[in-house]
Symmetry: C2
Subunit: 394 residues, 2 copies
Amino acid sequence: MRVLVLGGDGYLGWPTALYLSSHGHDVGIVDNFVRRQYDLEMGVDSLVPIVQAQARVRRWREVSGLTVELHVGDLTDAAFVEQTFSAFEPDAVVHFGEQRSAPYSMIDRQHAVYTQHNNVIGNLNVLYTIADQDPSIHLVKLGSMGEYGSPNIDIEEGFIEITHKGRTDTLPYPKQPGSFYHLSKVHDSHNIMFACKIWGLRSTDLNQGIVYGQYTEETALHEDLATRLDYDAVFGTVLNRFCAQAVADKPLTVYGKGGQTRGMLDIRDTLACIELALTNSPAKGEYRVFNQFTESFSVLELAQKVAAIHGDGVRVEHLEDPRVEDEEHYYGATHTKLLDLGLVPHLLSDETIERLLSLATRYRSRIDEKAIAPTVSWRRTSSKLPTATTSAPL
Amino acid sequence: MRVLVLGGDGYLGWPTALYLSSHGHDVGIVDNFVRRQYDLEMGVDSLVPIVQAQARVRRWREVSGLTVELHVGDLTDAAFVEQTFSAFEPDAVVHFGEQRSAPYSMIDRQHAVYTQHNNVIGNLNVLYTIADQDPSIHLVKLGSMGEYGSPNIDIEEGFIEITHKGRTDTLPYPKQPGSFYHLSKVHDSHNIMFACKIWGLRSTDLNQGIVYGQYTEETALHEDLATRLDYDAVFGTVLNRFCAQAVADKPLTVYGKGGQTRGMLDIRDTLACIELALTNSPAKGEYRVFNQFTESFSVLELAQKVAAIHGDGVRVEHLEDPRVEDEEHYYGATHTKLLDLGLVPHLLSDETIERLLSLATRYRSRIDEKAIAPTVSWRRTSSKLPTATTSAPL
């Protein structure tokens, strides 16, 4: 299968590209490297050093004998998208190519506008290009479990049957996203559902939980094949950040009570889920949604797990929550569709946390403690902006 | 009350501005005149001649003794929005300032992207400006009944109580919008709901039905105060268009079976609803949704009504539906909140249709029959684009 991985230079896009390549697919990567530019803007960096895209593509060929094509450009540039699709002729597209940080989207107006413009318009260009060039191309789109928010009823996979005043229908699951980033994903989902309906496109919307880990079979083959690991307050996600804090002998900072419960998954399961979606294609015109996570944890539970495994007197500290969110809430979310397709999850084990801790120890000298404290507030009136941040790369 | 009417030069924005002005409010109009530019792009024009904004503002002062401020600029220009709000210091904002045609948004990629960019980013700029300058400003936002689509259960006003697996919550009503334009309104609604939650803004989202009519008390005071009336396939809405077709001795063209049922309202009720929303402000942090229509009709019913009243052997013709939509469906939509606030509807009467027919007769020579046939298809493969349309005014 010919698969184009949009955002193939990122944390998950890169290991996905290698995984699909090693599993016999012809893979192309599309990226504009804006994720690396966010690092420059924020003055932060990946905990694990990463080499340039061209160099890692060459290294992959050397290590595996397999070729991954690299296409450098921006999805908001429609002519670039059209040319790239036309040249590569994909059977499927895995779309990671969006600004994916909630705090980044909440920095200020410019970053909110940048995020929604970049994500929504880039995705519209992809939809139009598929419709125009080959409506049978399967679009596997990365969404987020954060699109749902934390309703007081069970979260279903994209759709819910509602009986109301004596009538029944199955409707899109109501969304209550918690940041301008998550809102951009909700906008995408609505646009994709519509494109499938009117143009007969086929798409899988993966509402992914929070991913942890950095180890995958392919990226472990050579240091130059490593994928990035973010621990900072803007791009770092919760478990990865806790491991960096523990290694830096800093308290594990939990926002508010820490009762925020989220679906989570190992990075290796992200790769497996994407291949399952690709090899079990939806029908023409079908828009389907999978909830892509394997377990759920509260933030406080995760901090306690990391503290217990790391030991050395590391403590858990509660900060005032910079986000506007429920610090304690009901959380029940269905996630059976990928299991039904054959997913065998890597559940969160002590070994996974130990591997992350030893990775953080190896790169201890690269940890910038100032990057860990939250700097972005959801509350406009008390918003403290990082001084280095003046404009989004629009 | 100081009220800024965004899009105050348009079909509904202009009569709203005059109505509020005559009812004792201090009114400012914001517009970039892009609606007039769409006419130039498409080669169509309002059935009723309209004078320039500056001239009609002057005429209003002459006729009424009242001043309406005019601010010319683009809502996607954040600095302009900030300066205008800061200069005018509104207590409330009525936001009509968006591209509002479904067919226009479906012309091609550029027009879809233009519509979502223009509407979503403009609205984000308004939200940030309110949050930064004065979170107590009440945002009255024009949405659309078309955001809901045609579900097989009753449509509620913005939210629905769902009981699922033994638990109950009240959640945003699921949306199934039918064009990239309607999608932009859904994106706006999600963004506004979030802004109310995190910043404590107050907003009323008016999911308006299809508006008919052109007569309002204020615009009738002088020919120069007239608001536009569109009958063309791209900007003309159904009842207004049927009246133009009848007068032009053309068949009334119904798309498909004509069983498409929609909420509708008289232009005078639009004005009354907006004032009711303004004078009954939501609480700080409250995001409320009103379904703003008074009756629902199927498209075929409307055509038959117009044919019966006009007589002269005018017939109803069924065209292949250029849209992808249900041609027959259940339609039950709640609309009690505005009635509870005191709305006294102008229900669709023979007199209203007769008034529209005589208006069309008066301007018979301005009817361009070529502008009435649908040129925009929702189906990408069979899309026939108007030859004059090459790019959106982005």
